[in-house]
Symmetry: C2
DNA sequence: AAAAATATGTCAGCCTTGTTGACTTATTTT
DNA sequence: AAAATAAGTCAACAAGGCTGACATATTTTT
């Protein structure tokens, strides 16, 4: 079988129509990997992990959230949440308040200490986003937000809208 | 201290200049959560996890990658990789070839079976991306790719460029 | 008023996937 | 010949998911 010397034996692995969008797939992987690496450095120093970050983030984002609401946002089990939530309460980053209407519920609030930590964790991420927007053209912010939101399951976009001051 | 009746006691939690970009922070969280949920369903059926997915993804993306290169992309330890790579080799999704120039190296290649699985895992993610691009305006693709790439640590963007047929 | 449903908490144990540290083997470089 | 490098392996540990079972307080339904 005759082949030109430079023709590769195996073709360039899916470069046409039915090929998956590998470009954005891997960009999401790399972007998310580095995006989470910043706060991880801070968390490590105080013996917390990513799970603590997510819990604190949303309690800070929507103070007064109940346990059930938080579980719904995070999509983890009650037992998984309990482990990290207990630590956040013990370290006084978060407090619980018995629900005013339904006394079975526990409303979750960040303390001043909790808000400070949430801010410290958000800052490097926010800085990375700001630099990336700068590089890619700030006029594209709306399109980027729109794209990211469209990546979320339709039935869960309401969750995003329910957060205060969010688009 | 005099306050207008309607002014909230606690302000709308950082809505000005020095406030972190909570909008995009949480959009990334939700988008990535749902983006990874699709392949997880497929992986579960065959007893694989996300770690297998990532390894197979990159071996398929750049056939002939050495173990060291893969470790560098994934940013995990040799021991973590070994566990899942061994399974991928045992199940004949991946084969190893002794490096032609340096016989200490092991080049990694997907088998037909491996390529099929990689494709099956990429399709739902690709479909989600296509729908999201459609919704947010396909003309914004370049800007979105640019943004995501700008979110990656500068010293690691070369890694992305080294993948075949990628921007 | 009693029964059922709901919100939360907790105990126990399992799995995946990351980690460190120590050490081996084959091969290449010095 | 010695040192460095690429890869593999054993052992132990930790974080953070999971399931199942069950307890308690409170609210809703009957």
């Amino acid at each position: 079988m005759k082949r030109t010397k430079d023709a590769p034996l195996i073709t360039k692995a899916l470069s046409n129509e039915d090929a998956p969008d590998l470009n954005i797939i891997e960009l999401l992987f790399f972007a998310y990997r580095d995006f989470t690496a910043d706060p991880d450095l801070i968390l490590e120093k105080i013996g917390f992990g990513r799970a603590h970050h997510r819990v604190l983030y949303f309690i800070n984002r929507k103070p007064g959230m109940t346990v059930a609401e938080l579980l719904d946002v995070l999509k983890i089990t009650k037992q998984s949440l309990a482990r990290v939530l207990k630590q956040l309460i013990d370290t006084e980053h978060v407090v619980q308040v018995t629900g005013p209407r339904d006394r079975r519920q526990r409303e979750l609030y960040p303390t001043a200490k909790g808000r400070e930590l949430a801010l410290a964790l958000a800052l490097p991420q926010s800085g990375r986003i700001a630099r990336a927007l700068e590089e890619s053209g700030p006029e594209n912010r709306a399109a980027i937000e729109h794209f990211l939101k469209a990546m979320v399951n339709p039935d869960q976009r309401a969750q995003i809208d329910s957060l205060p001051a969010a688009g």
